[in-house]
């Protein structure tokens, strides 16, 4: 696959000395949905701002569609749409006018049919003549998405698009993201809702302290780092783990009512068959068996646990 955005050794130090990005390198593949995960102040917004041109960076280079985003900013910026984290909208403009304004800013000629379709897709059509100050928070979020899509970008940055929005809008947005991906748009999503990344992303990048800790295919990541647990409920509670089972990665559940066996899903042999035989041989009687797999959230928490976030900088 070819990279539509290529970030090479980018560092950003704000005027107050805060290093928001530290030698970040990252390739974003054409047509993928990349989820950028990280705690507050990790550098997610700074990274997006550097790619989109909102902030300058101190070191490194960024290529969009093989063009330098500083030297060839006219070409690169036309390809990008951005939905910012904050609900930054005026007050007295109408929905129609503000979306049309955004299209014009990107140098695109007026195309009312496109704006109309966009507003309809985002359930904003009946609000097109309303002033922005009259809209609810969720509606404003939709307007920001419409503005970002007004010039038909090929790359869309969604900076925490579902923060503080209701379930209905979140699902609407997921549907929209899927439709955009089907039309070939590359989507970069930052989110605090890990289930969101788990649901829609192709790849996951984890950023913390201004550094990219990993970038990995979502399923591969979950396979590699994900743990699976076998929970064996016992008919009679056990006082301790029998000696015969000491060789297993096993622990006693609450009140001794269950045994919890953690195993690697990617290993050639999980050891489950032998474990069950050994449990039976140890004189324990099974009541029920269930399995659980670690979520992306568990993986994320594990990854950033040992690297506490730096103090958030002004725009990080």
């Amino acid at each position: 696959m070819d990279a539509i955005v290529s970030i090479k050794q980018v560092s950003k130090i704000y005027d107050n000395g805060f290093r928001a990005l530290n030698n970040v390198s990252l390739d974003i593949q054409r047509g993928e949905i990349l989820a950028l995960l990280g705690p507050n102040g990790a550098g997610k917004t700074s990274l997006i701002s550097a790619v989109t041109g909102i902030i300058s960076f101190n070191e490194g280079s960024i290529f969009v569609d093989d063009k330098d985003n500083v030297k060839d900013y006219r070409h690169t910026r036309k390809l990008i749409g951005l939905v910012p984290q904050e609900l930054t909208l005026g007050s007295f403009e109408t929905v129609w006018n503000t979306v049309s304004f955004s299209r014009g800013l990107y140098g695109a000629k007026p195309k009312p049919a496109h704006i109309e379709q966009l507003l309809k897709d985002l359930s904003l059509w009946d609000k097109k003549d309303d002033q922005l100050r009259m809209l609810s928070g969720g509606m404003k979020r939709r307007v920001l998405i419409a503005k970002a899509l007004s010039h038909e970008p090929r790359i869309l940055f969604l900076d925490e698009p579902t923060a503080g929005v209701d379930v209905e809008l979140r699902k609407d947005m997921w549907r929209l993201v899927n439709r955009l991906r089907e039309s070939g748009v590359t989507i970069i999503l930052t989110t605090h809702y890990i289930e969101e990344a788990e649901e829609i992303a192709d790849r996951i990048a984890v950023i913390n302290g201004g550094e990219v800790l990993l970038i990995e295919d979502k399923l591969e990541l979950m396979r590699k780092l994900g743990k699976k647990q076998l929970i064996i409920e016992l008919k009679e509670p056990a006082a301790a783990i029998p000696d015969a089972l000491q060789g297993y990665d096993i622990e006693l559940g609450e009140g001794g009512a269950s045994l919890i066996y953690t195993y690697d899903t990617s290993a050639e042999a999980t050891g489950i068959t032998r474990l069950l035989q050994d449990i039976s041989a140890a004189g324990l009687t099974l009541k029920d068996i269930q399995t659980s797999q670690s979520t992306l959230e568990d993986i994320f928490v594990d990854l950033v646990r040992d690297q506490p976030a730096q103090e958030a900088g002004a725009a990080a």
């Binding site: 909102i54 300058s56 006219r74 070409h75 304004f101 955004s102 299209r103 014009g104 503005k147």
Partner: protein, 253 residues
């Protein structure tokens, strides 16, 4: 050149004035009328003529300049400051818009609004006095140059300001006193010699004088000096804006 961007920025700024049309039109009309009542009526009844021009007529160019300068600065400074304040500036920064295109959009709109206001003031003045313009071309030249120059100056203030106090401080503490002391309502020849010399350090004197010359061929300083001064100030503002854009001063972190 991103003409679409210039068009939408210009249109959006003009729409802002349109949305407050009453304020935009009523404010200069009312303040001009009040000045005519106070200066033209009350004071003018005691001062028959200045440099051979009826006092009510004499104050028209200065009155127009007073409003033009303050309106150009406030329109342009607010136009760029407000997007910075509410955060919508991100859109302009992320768009394929050069700083100069943004400048043309914002300053062009602010200057257009000032020009319209200037014309409204002159029309209003014509209701009170029998207005005469000896050199319409030069009148328009001074009008346009002043609108553009002080809109640029306002744009600089809007970029520099990071709170509302800073936005107001230069227009209130510097521009308004300079205009009042710049011969808007009197000829500097009416001042004692020492103050005449001091006044020549006030750049507004040159604007008012040149503008007044285009109406009545009456001037405190040579008209070419006036033109040179306004062009110098225009170039100075452009140089500052150019530096601000190159360095991303107060715009880009």
């Amino acid at each position: 050149m991103n003409f679409q961007a210039i068009r939408v920025i210009y249109r959006s700024e003009m729409m802002r004035a349109w949305n407050t049309l009453f304020q935009t039109v009523a404010s200069p009309v009312i303040s001009t009328s009040l000045y005519f009542i106070v200066f033209g009526g009350a004071i003018g009844s005691r001062i028959q003529t200045v440099d051979g021009v009826e006092y009510g007529l004499f104050i028209v160019p200065g009155l127009t300049m007073l409003t033009l300068l303050t309106q150009s600065i406030s329109n342009a400074s607010f136009g760029i400051y407000f997007p910075k304040f509410i955060g919508t500036i991100y859109e302009v920064l992320a768009a394929p818009v050069s700083f100069y295109e943004a400048l043309i959009g914002y300053v062009g709109a602010a200057a257009s609004k000032s020009l319209i206001i200037g014309i409204i003031i002159l029309v209003t003045a014509n209701l009170f006095v029998d207005l005469r313009i000896d050199h319409p071309f030069w009148m328009l030249t001074f009008l346009v140059l002043t609108c553009v120059t002080f809109s640029l100056f306002g744009f600089i203030i809007g970029l520099w300001a990071d709170n509302f106090e800073k936005l107001q401080i230069i227009p209130i503490l510097i521009i308004t006193p300079l205009v009042f002391l710049g011969g808007s309502f009197y000829s500097i020849s009416m001042l004692p010699p020492f103050w005449q010399t001091v006044t020549l350090f006030n750049p507004v004197v040159y604007l008012v004088s040149g503008f007044r010359w285009s109406f009545f061929e009456v001037a405190d300083v040579n008209v070419w000096v006036s033109l040179g001064m306004i062009l110098f100030f225009l170039l100075l503002c452009m140089a500052i804006v150019s530096w601000m854009f190159k360095t991303g001063y107060k715009l880009k972190q």
